[in-house]
C-alpha cells in the first residue's frame, strides 16, 4: 500500500509553501480584502502563472506542464493555507477541467494554452436563485446561438475573459435540455454588476446575458451530467484548499493559546481549550484522509470518484468550518476584531463550503451515489 504523496510531490508542496509565504503574506490578502476596486492580486496571479501552477494538470500539447491531478491537489492545499486571493479555483478547477473533459479539439487549442499561461481567466456560471441549483430552476436559455438570462453569483465573473454558462437549449427547462455554452467577456450583450461576498478576497458578480453569442460546449442536453462530473473533480481540489485553511486555523489557535495567559497560566493549558483543539485536529485528520482518497480517485479516473469526492467535500467543509469558527472562540475578544486574522479564515471557510454547492447538498450527493454504487 502506498497511500501517500510521492517524494517529488512533497518537494513540490514544500516549494509551493515557501513561495506563497514569500509572495502571499497576510498583508497581500488584506490589501484585496480592504480595496473594493481590486478583485484579485494581479501580481500574485502573474507569479503563480510563471511558476506554471495554472498549467499543472493541463497537457503539454495545450501549453501546460502535463503533470497530474495529484500535483494540483498539492498546490490546492497550499493555496488554501495562504488564503491566496486569486481566481485559481474558477479558472483551473472548473473552467480548465470543463474544457479538458468536454471541449472539442478547437476549443482546447483556443483556450487551454491561455488558461495555462494565466493570460486568460475562465469561470463557470450556474446559480440563478437562492437555494440549490437544479435543472428545473435554471431559466437561462439559448435560441439560435444567442443566450439570454441572469446568473448570480458568478465567482470571479468580473475578471473572467471567458465564461462557461449553464443554460437550456430550448425554452422548456428540464433535465434533458440543459447544455453548456461558452461566452466571451467582450460581447455587447453581457453586462456585469458586482456583488459583495462573505469573503471579499474571493469576489463574485451577477451577469446579465441579453442575446449574447454562445458557443456550445459538449453535447446538447448533457449539461447536468457534465456539471456533476466536473463538480466531483473540483470537489476534491476544493477539499484540499479547505484542509489547508483548516490546518492553519488550528495552528494559529494553538499559537495564540500558548502566548496568551489568564488566571496565571497559558490558556492552552486549560482542558476546555485543549479538548477543543483536539477536536479540531481529529476533524482535520479525517478530512485530510478523505481528501487523499478523493485525490486517488481523481488521479486514477476511478469509478469511485462520485463517492470519494463527496466524502472529501463533506469532511473538508466540516473541518474548515469548525476549525475557523473555534479559532475565533479560542482567541476570545480579539478573535472578532478586524485586526486579527481569524476572520479571514472564517470568511474563506464558509465561502469555500458554498462555492460548488452546500454541505447539505454534498451529503445528499454522497448518499445517492452510495445507493447507485450498491445497485451497480
Amino acid at each position: 500500500m502506498n497511500f501517500d504523496f510521492s517524494d517529488d510531490q512533497k518537494l513540490l508542496r514544500d516549494q509551493a509553501r515557501k513561495f506563497l509565504q514569500d509572495k502571499c503574506d497576510r498583508s497581500l490578502v488584506r490589501s484585496i480584502l480592504e480595496d473594493s476596486e481590486q478583485n484579485y492580486s494581479e501580481n500574485l496571479w502573474k507569479d503563480i502563472a510563471e511558476m506554471g501552477w495554472t498549467g499543472t494538470a493541463i497537457p503539454e500539447e495545450y501549453g501546460g506542464l502535463g503533470l497530474g491531478m495529484l500535483e494540483l491537489c498539492v498546490i490546492a492545499e497550499e493555496l488554501g493555507r495562504s488564503l491566496a486571493p486569486t481566481p485559481f479555483s474558477s479558472s483551473i478547477y472548473l473552467f480548465a477541467e470543463f474544457i479538458k473533459s468536454y471541449g472539442n479539439e478547437e476549443q482546447k487549442k483556443k483556450y487551454l494554452p491561455k488558461i495555462a499561461s494565466g493570460e486568460f481567466i475562465g469561470t463557470f456560471a450556474l446559480s440563478e436563485t437562492n437555494g440549490t441549483p437544479r435543472p428545473s430552476n435554471i431559466k437561462a436559455s439559448v435560441n439560435d446561438g444567442k443566450l439570454s438570462g441572469e446568473k448570480a453569483p458568478v465567482n470571479d465573473g468580473e475578471v473572467a475573459d471567458i465564461i462557461i454558462v449553464a443554460a437550456n437549449s430550448d425554452n422548456n427547462a428540464n433535465h434533458n435540455s440543459l447544455s453548456l455554452y461558452l461566452v466571451e467577456k467582450d460581447d455587447p450583450g453581457l453586462s456585469k454588476s458586482s456583488l459583495e461576498t462573505l469573503d471579499p478576497t474571493r469576489p463574485a458578480c451577477s451577469l446579465n446575458f441579453s442575446n449574447v453569442n454562445a458557443e456550445q460546449l459538449g453535447n446538447r442536453g448533457e449539461g447536468w451530467s457534465m456539471i456533476e462530473d466536473i463538480f466531483n473533480r473540483a470537489a476534491v481540489l476544493f477539499s484540499f484548499e479547505q484542509v489547508g485553511g483548516a490546518q492553519v486555523s488550528l495552528d494559529e489557535a494553538k499559537k495564540y493559546s500558548l502566548e496568551r495567559f489568564a488566571f496565571g497560566r497559558q490558556i492552552g493549558s486549560f482542558q476546555a481549550l485543549k479538548h477543543k483543539m483536539a477536536d479540531m485536529y481529529v476533524k482535520i485528520e479525517l478530512a485530510r484522509s478523505n481528501a487523499y482518497y478523493g485525490a486517488w480517485a481523481l488521479s486514477t479516473d476511478s469509478n469511485e470518484l462520485p463517492v470519494a469526492a463527496a466524502g472529501a467535500r463533506v469532511s473538508a467543509s466540516d473541518a474548515y468550518n469548525y476549525s475557523s469558527q473555534e479559532n475565533i472562540q479560542i482567541h476570545g475578544g480579539v478573535g472578532f476584531t478586524w485586526e486579527y486574522d481569524c476572520h479571514l479564515f472564517y470568511r474563506r471557510a464558509k465561502l469555500l463550503s458554498l462555492n460548488i454547492g452546500s454541505t447539505r447538498q454534498w451529503k445528499e450527493n454522497l448518499i445517492s451515489n452510495l445507493e447507485k454504487r450498491n445497485i451497480v
Partner: protein, 427 residues
C-alpha cells in the same frame, strides 16, 4: 498512490489466507462478528454471567486454546515476537496484514491479546533470561494465560495513583490492596502487577513492578457485571500475598518505567476493523420504515448517514496512511490516536439513532429483533463502555492535545508532593 501490497506483502498475505482457509470458517454478512460462532468475547466473561454457565465458558476457553495452539504451530500467534520465543519475527506491516485477514473469519478472541500484545514484550525488555525461556513460549501457545493488574479504584485515568501496598520482607514482597477492571483475571494463570513500594516518594517514583502466579494464596477474584449483563472484568483482592523478589521486573521504585513499556505495546490498532459502523446502519435503513416510507429515503436520515460515512471512511483512510508509513518502515504518525475516540462515539450515536428509527421495536433486546441480529441494542451498551475502557474520551483528547499538538499539561499538584501527602478526597 495505490492500495496494492508490495510483492513480499502479497506473498505473506497469501500464506495467511491459506492458513485461515484451511483452519477456520469464513464470515459472510456484515452482521457477522468474528466471534459469532465459536467462543465469543462475551463467553470470555465469568461463567455465572455467561449463557450456558460454567460449562459453556469452559468449552469456549478450551476452543480458544485449541485455536491459539494451531496459530502458534503455524508460527502466526505472535507476528512481532522474535523466533526464539515462538514468534514469527515479523514486521508491523505483517501484523496488520494478519489482523486484516483474520477478521474475515470466525475465530476466538479475548483471551491471549493482553499477554502477547503487552505483557510478553514487557518481559522481553525487563525479564531475566530464565524467565523468558520459562514463560514466553507458553504465553504464545495459549497454555498459560496472562492478565494485567494495573487499574485500582482510585487509579483509573490517573493510573500512577496506585495504592496497592508492596512491603519488602526478606527475599519476599507482601502485597495488600485491590485491583479493578482486570480483564480475564478469572481464567488467567499469571499476572503482571504494579504496586506502591514507597508511599513517601513522588507518585511516579514509589512504584515497583512484579509478575505473579494467580493461584498464589491470598488472591481473590470477583467478576464485575457490566451494563451488558456479562462480566469480562474483575475486581482482584490481595491480602498478604507473598511473592519472591525474583519475580520483580525492573528495579525497586522503577515500576512506572516498566509499566510504560507495557502501555506502549498496546496493540497496533491499524489492522482492526471497526465494529458497528456506517455499513450496518446503511443496511438497516433499507429495511426500517419511518413516517414517510423507508428510512433511507428520508432526508434527515440521509444527512446523518453522510456524517457517519465520512467519519468511518476518514478513519479507514487514516489507517491506510499509517499502514503506508509502516510499510515504508516508518513509525506511524500520531493520527492513530484518533481512532478509538472517533469510533466509540460514532458507535454510540449510530446505535442510539438506529434504535430511534426502529421506534417502539427498538426496545426489543434479544435475538427476536429482526434487524441485524440485535446489533444496535448491543452496540448501545457496548459503546458506552468503549468510550471509557482503554483511555476515556477525555484522556484521549488530553493525549492528542499534549503529545500531538504539544500543548502544556494541566496544573499537576501530584508532581510536587510525596504520594502520601497528596489530597485524595478520602482522608
Amino acid at each position: 498512490m495505490d492500495f496494492n501490497d508490495s510483492p513480499q506483502e502479497a506473498e505473506f498475505r497469501k500464506e495467511i489466507q491459506k492458513f485461515l482457509e484451511t483452519n477456520a470458517e469464513k464470515r459472510s454478512t456484515i452482521a457477522d462478528k468474528p466471534n459469532d460462532k465459536g467462543p465469543q468475547i462475551a463467553v470470555a466473561g465469568a461463567p455465572e454471567t455467561v449463557r450456558g454457565g460454567k460449562e459453556a465458558a469452559d468449552e469456549a476457553l478450551e476452543r480458544a486454546k485449541e485455536w491459539q495452539k494451531k496459530k502458534a504451530d503455524a508460527g502466526f500467534a505472535a507476528i512481532l515476537w522474535p523466533k526464539e520465543f515462538g514468534g514469527y519475527g515479523g514486521s508491523p506491516i505483517q501484523q496488520v496484514i494478519y489482523s486484516q485477514e483474520e477478521h474475515n473469519f470466525f475465530v476466538p478472541s479475548g483471551y491471549f491479546e493482553i499477554g502477547i500484545g503487552m505483557l510478553g514484550p514487557t518481559m522481553m525488555v525487563w525479564g531475566k533470561d530464565e524467565d523468558k525461556k520459562r514463560y514466553l513460549p507458553k504465553m504464545i501457545t495459549g497454555e498459560e494465560i496472562w492478565c494485567q493488574l494495573f487499574s485500582e479504584p482510585s487509579a483509573g485515568s490517573d493510573l500512577a495513583g496506585i495504592k496497592m501496598k508492596a512491603e519488602k520482607n526478606g527475599d519476599e514482597w507482601v502485597l495488600n490492596g485491590q485491583k479493578v477492571w482486570t480483564s480475564g483475571a478469572h481464567f488467567a494463570d499469571y499476572g503482571m502487577i504494579v504496586a506502591r513500594s514507597d508511599p513517601s516518594a513522588l507518585k511516579h517514583k514509589g512504584l515497583t513492578y512484579f509478575f505473579l502466579d494467580m493461584k498464589t494464596p491470598g488472591i481473590e477474584v470477583k467478576p464485575i457485571k457490566q451494563i451488558s449483563g456479562t462480566a469480562n472484568f474483575n475486581e482482584v483482592f490481595f491480602s498478604d500475598v507473598r511473592i519472591p523478589d525474583s519475580q520483580r521486573l525492573g528495579a525497586e521504585g522503577e515500576g512506572w518505567k516498566v509499566a510504560l513499556t507495557t502501555l506502549m505495546n498496546e496493540r497496533l490498532a491499524v489492522g482492526d476493523p471497526p465494529g458497528l459502523d456506517f455499513d450496518q446502519i446503511f443496511e438497516a435503513t433499507k429495511e426500517i420504515e419511518v413516517e414517510d416510507g423507508l428510512a433511507i429515503k428520508n432526508s434527515e436520515v440521509r444527512q446523518k448517514m453522510a456524517d457517519w460515512y465520512v467519519q468511518s471512511r476518514g478513519l479507514q483512510y487514516t489507517k491506510f496512511r499509517s499502514i503506508t508509513a509502516l510499510s515504508k518502515g516508518q513509525t506511524p504518525g500520531p493520527e492513530l490516536s484518533i481512532s478509538k475516540l472517533v469510533t466509540a462515539s460514532k458507535m454510540q450515536d449510530v446505535s442510539a439513532y438506529a434504535l430511534d428509527l426502529m421506534d417502539m421495536s427498538g426496545t426489543i433486546h434479544n435475538d427476536k429483533n429482526p434487524i441485524l441480529k440485535n446489533l444496535f441494542q448491543n452496540g448501545y451498551f457496548f459503546s458506552a463502555a468503549m468510550r471509557i475502557a482503554g483511555g476515556t474520551d477525555e484522556v484521549l483528547r488530553n493525549i492528542i492535545a499534549e503529545r500531538v499538538l504539544g500543548l502544556p499539561q494541566d496544573e499537576r499538584p501530584d508532581k510536587k508532593l510525596p504520594f502520601n501527602e497528596l489530597p485524595s478526597g478520602k482522608n
